[in-house]
Symmetry: C2
Subunit: 320 residues, 2 copies
């Protein structure tokens, strides 16, 4: 089968055998999304070699022990645990020390004709959610996961810094799932407009009123840039919480003095649970269509990566 | 009166008028302690000019509206708020945006014959606590304050990284006040021995068993060094909490990727409340005598600062 792989420090399309691990489900991929993590891996920052891709929707070809899934259209949670450690026993393999992660750690990913995951990771997609929305389940779940790490209530003032894919999903998801007062802070009118269309207050960084200084309870860093990190810190009230949602590669300069003086909490957030995200998509509660910039066939995967890396480009999809 | 002041980028002894703000208590200082924050200010890192010092024990000369304090031996909480903002109305001026802080922000400090504070900041010292212990109330309160920022219970595994004054106080205070399982991690046998004498497990960094990797729920960074910060991060389990207790000046290199991947929380912690610290001192529940390296008269304050800045030196006191 065809697979878009990162090997020997190079991204390219390969012909490889379809995966055939016993005991796992086999999924025929329909559509997959390119994430910034994929771009980081393809730059050699993450130490992963193999087939990339972790955002997908596909059809189950085979699911030993879960035959009811066969033929169903599914999305899949990307962490596969050992099944024995304390995390796995608690039903949450996201921090299993022996986990593999689809297309990220020790497991071939979704930019291929077929992928494998444990059947327990797969969730049927409701009929009313088309492929081009279902493919957003994974990043939308990651956006919702912020609320697992910090208490968000209707009176909580939340700033999301960064108007890329992640910021747009975080701002919409947090408003929709928690009712918190969310302000998206970004640099591009056209992107901020997407959030405004769903009732999210959205402001350009330079338009931030002085009165916004140090008035937010929570700031979500979704820009991936040190400038965004600094902006997020400046928006927080004393004892506020900064959520690090972007993965930075290498070391980041952090001014620790205000963290101590203002007793800020900095909280990392990674993967989320899928059901809440699927339900948001089913209810059409968040705008994802406007986030799709372009779709490429898998055979043009390398071009798709080049496009996804261009400034200002939102989601690039791969049709298998 | 004599005062040890930092002015025009220079530390020196001056003759200045005694403070005479109306409505505040006047305290004759008996003994004061030199803190790393004082050393940072004297290096010009903190932007403060005036009389240094915020750790003290003294005798109340005058306390308008709180005459029962007059003649009493006291210690004093160092943050003086506006009395009107939400923080002050909640009885906690530590984050008042208009606060002054004794010897640190907008208010002359304790390295002088007299200081002033609002009478509400002063707490009588129990007779059984001698001056040379009472002077540790402020840093001990700051050590106890870690427990305000992260939940510590008997089953919580806490690592304190750094065997200086701050680390020794944190390790002892957190064990004594919360019953948590505390391990002090440091580099100097003689200092670790002080903690061991009070039943705290203490290990040299290079002696840390491999099994300690990623097994602590909480790590308190009390070394003030980037190496200590890195060690503290490595000790934490996924979703563990790093407490930043030291103030770093300038920017610090932070490897943010593991913070996101392992969903670490980083929590800043600054000043504490005095009653719990005074009670620890009254019960002799923490060793502070062994932390005193040397005592200087106020007139030799500049020499005292030089001594306090030498590697390996713990607490230096100033006798007024």
């Amino acid at each position: 089968m065809k697979a878009l792989r990162f090997e020997n420090n190079r991204l390219g399309l390969s012909d490889v055998p379809a995966p055939s691990r016993e005991g796992e489900a086999l999924v025929r991929v329909l559509l997959a999304g390119v994430c910034n993590t994929d771009l980081e891996i393809a730059r050699g920052y993450a130490g992963f070699e193999g087939t990339l891709g972790h955002e997908f929707v596909g059809v189950v070809e085979r699911a030993p022990g879960a035959e009811e899934l066969e033929g169903r259209r599914v999305v899949g949670e990307i962490n596969a645990g050992c099944g024995r450690c304390q995390w796995c026993r608690a039903g949450d393999p996201r921090h299993c020390p022996e986990r593999t992660v689809l297309g990220i750690v020790g497991r071939d990913g979704a930019f291929a004709e077929y992928l494998q995951l444990p059947a327990a990771n797969l969730l049927p997609v409701p009929d009313e959610v088309p492929d081009a929305r279902a493919v957003f389940t994974e990043p939308l779940a990651a956006a919702c996961a912020v609320a697992e790490r910090v208490r968000l209530e209707p009176e909580t003032r939340v700033a999301v810094v960064g108007d890329g894919k992640l910021g747009l999903l975080c701002a919409q998801a947090l408003k929709a799932t928690t009712g918190a007062g969310v302000t998206l802070v970004g640099r591009h009118d056209s992107k901020l407009e997407i959030a405004r269309g769903r009732g999210v207050r959205a402001l350009k960084t330079e338009e931030l009123p002085v009165s916004f200084g140090r008035c937010f309870d929570v700031a979500v860093e979704a820009s991936g840039s040190p400038a965004g990190l600094a902006t997020a810190l400046k928006l927080l009230r004393p004892r506020g919480t900064l959520v690090l949602k972007s993965t930075f590669h290498g070391t980041t300069e952090l001014n620790a003095a205000p963290v101590v003086v203002d007793e800020i909490s900095i909280v990392g957030s990674r993967c989320g649970r899928f059901p809440v995200a699927l339900e948001l998509l089913r209810r059409d509660a968040v705008e994802v269509d406007a986030l799709v910039h372009e779709e490429f066939p898998l055979s043009e995967g390398v071009r798709a990566f080049e496009r996804a890396a261009e400034p200002g480009v939102l989601k690039v999809l791969l049709r298998v």
